[in-house]
Every structure is written in structure tokens, then in C-alpha cells.
């Protein structure tokens, strides 16, 4: 079993990245990541194996990030950098287009916010599978281990979550 600092080093990027994908804001994502690790520290003696820590970290990150998203009142600024590359240079949230123009960036950011808010409106058990699969690209088997459910349940929940998302996103457009 790793000590707390080793766990931090191993999972810090994943926790931060998941928060950032859900929130789209560096400061908020950093605050959530900080809360997650502080909570992990408080509960650390209860964990018996590394896989338990990993599952717990993912679940708590999704929960805290979505709670932060629901509480958020201000709109996101498109001009703020949302991360740093390995050299420490700021990067902007533009995965689909290498150098989009401002209108395209606005469209992308609007799309992201619609999806984030739609996910925040799902029941908790569906939020978890959607974030882990759609945003993190994790396999069914891995998701099953993280959430403590079977692979079949992962697939069924994902189907229902996607159906609900589809309706939410359609309502947003209308």
C-alpha cells in the first residue's frame, strides 16, 4: 500500500484533469483537486489497498466537481488559460481545433457547458458512468472496478445515462 504522498503523485494529474473537464476552469479545478486530496488524507487509514483509493478518488472527484458546477454562478471566461503543458506554458481549451477563431472557440465552450450542465442534472449513479466513460475514456471493466458494480450494470447504466443526456441536450437546444 502506497503512502499518502505516493498516492498524491500517482493520481494528482487524473484528479485535476477530471475536475477540469467537468468545470472548465483552472482555479475551480485546482480547488476541487485540493479538497479531494484533503478528504483522502483524512480517510487514508481506512483504505486497505491501492485499488480502493483509486476508486474512492474518482468517485469523490466526480461528486465534488459536479457540486461545484451546480453552485457556480459566474460564466466562464474564454480567454483564461485552462491548463499548462509539460513546459509550463498556458494552454487553452481547444481540443477539436488546433487554432480556432474566437467564434469557433465560443461555440466549443458553449457546447461544453451544455454537456456539463446536462450531466449535472443526471442522477448521481448515471453521472459517474458518463464521466468515467465519455470524458475519461475508461473501459467498462475498469469502471466496474471503480464503482464496485458488474460490467453488465456499467453498460446498462451507460445506455440509460446517454438516453437521458440526449433528451437533456435536445431540450437545451429547444
Amino acid at each position: 500500500m502506497l503512502n499518502f504522498e505516493e498516492v498524491f503523485e500517482k493520481f494528482k494529474d487524473r484528479v485535476f484533469r477530471t475536475s477540469l473537464r467537468l468545470l472548465g476552469d483552472v482555479e475551480e479545478a485546482r480547488d476541487v483537486a485540493q479538497d479531494v486530496f484533503l478528504s483522502a488524507y483524512k480517510s487514508y487509514d481506512k483504505f486497505r489497498e491501492e485499488s480502493a483509493v483509486y476508486s474512492w478518488l474518482y468517485r469523490i472527484t466526480v461528486n465534488k466537481a459536479i457540486n461545484a458546477l451546480k453552485k457556480r454562478k459566474k460564466a466562464l471566461s474564454l480567454d483564461e488559460p485552462i491548463g499548462n503543458d509539460k513546459e509550463g506554458n498556458p494552454i487553452y481549451y481547444e481540443p477539436a481545433c488546433p487554432k480556432p477563431n474566437p467564434e469557433k472557440r465560443a461555440e466549443i465552450e458553449e457546447g461544453r457547458n451544455r454537456v456539463r450542465l446536462a450531466i449535472a442534472r443526471l442522477p448521481k449513479k448515471y453521472q459517474e458512468v458518463v464521466v468515467l466513460k465519455e470524458m475519461e475514456g475508461i473501459s467498462y471493466e475498469e469502471i466496474a472496478k471503480i464503482l464496485g458494480i458488474t460490467r453488465d450494470v456499467v453498460g446498462i447504466r451507460l445506455f440509460r445515462a446517454r438516453e437521458m443526456l440526449r433528451k437533456e441536450l435536445k431540450n437545451e437546444v429547444l
Partner: protein, 142 residues
Amino acid sequence: MKCCKEKISFYIDGEMAQAEKEAFIKHLEGCGFCTKLVEELSSQKEMIENLFVRLEAEAPIELKSRVMARIEERRAFNWWPVILRRIAVAGCMAGLVFALMMSYPKKKEEGYMSQIVANSIEEREEAYLLREQTKVFLNRCL
């Protein structure tokens, strides 16, 4: 239909065994509803992946120092005043409850139940008399 619908996620995520996949594809050939749903959910999945999955970001360098600083604050915090205050509050509450219980008048057990029964009989007799008197009064009026 329900059992086929719920296989859609397995299919679009490539999580189906080969034999099952072939059977599902055959099903799709004859089912317009599932085919349409597969198209819509596949394109939604692709949209979300394009928006989110390609972002690779590393945790800010200062995250570790912030977390460690908060942990140190927590370790250095003197918990004794908080604990003592809580014990004091709990003690006061317990004392208050005890005092209330002691001041509540005690009923003598001896004859208590018979007193209750007697009161009940007396009340019924009074109610009976009242009804009879009311009948007499009404008869006189009418």
C-alpha cells in the same frame, strides 16, 4: 425491444464479444428503431469525446504545496479547546434532561390505575346524565 436497446452501449463502445456483435448487427438490419438510436448515441458519444477527451492537462505545480500546507494546518490545529467545549455542551444537555426528569411529578403507582378507571366511569356517567337532560329539555321545547 428493451433487452436489445440496453445492448446498444456495449455495441457502440466496442465492448461486445464477436458472436454477440454479429447477432446484434443482424438485429439492427431488421430494426429501424435500434438503428436510429445507435446512430444518435454514437454521434453524441463522438461529440462529447471531441469536446472533452482530447484535453490533456497536468496538475498545477502549486497543487502539492497547497495540499500539504492544508494538511500541516490540520495537524498543527489544537483540537483540545474544541473537544472540551463539546464535552461541556454535552454535559449541560445531559444535566438539563436529568433535572427535567427529576422535577416531573411522580404518580403513585398504587391506586393509580384504579383512579384512572374511576375517573373514566365518572365521566361516562356524567355524559349519560347530560344526554338524558338534553332529551328532556328538547321534549319540553317541542
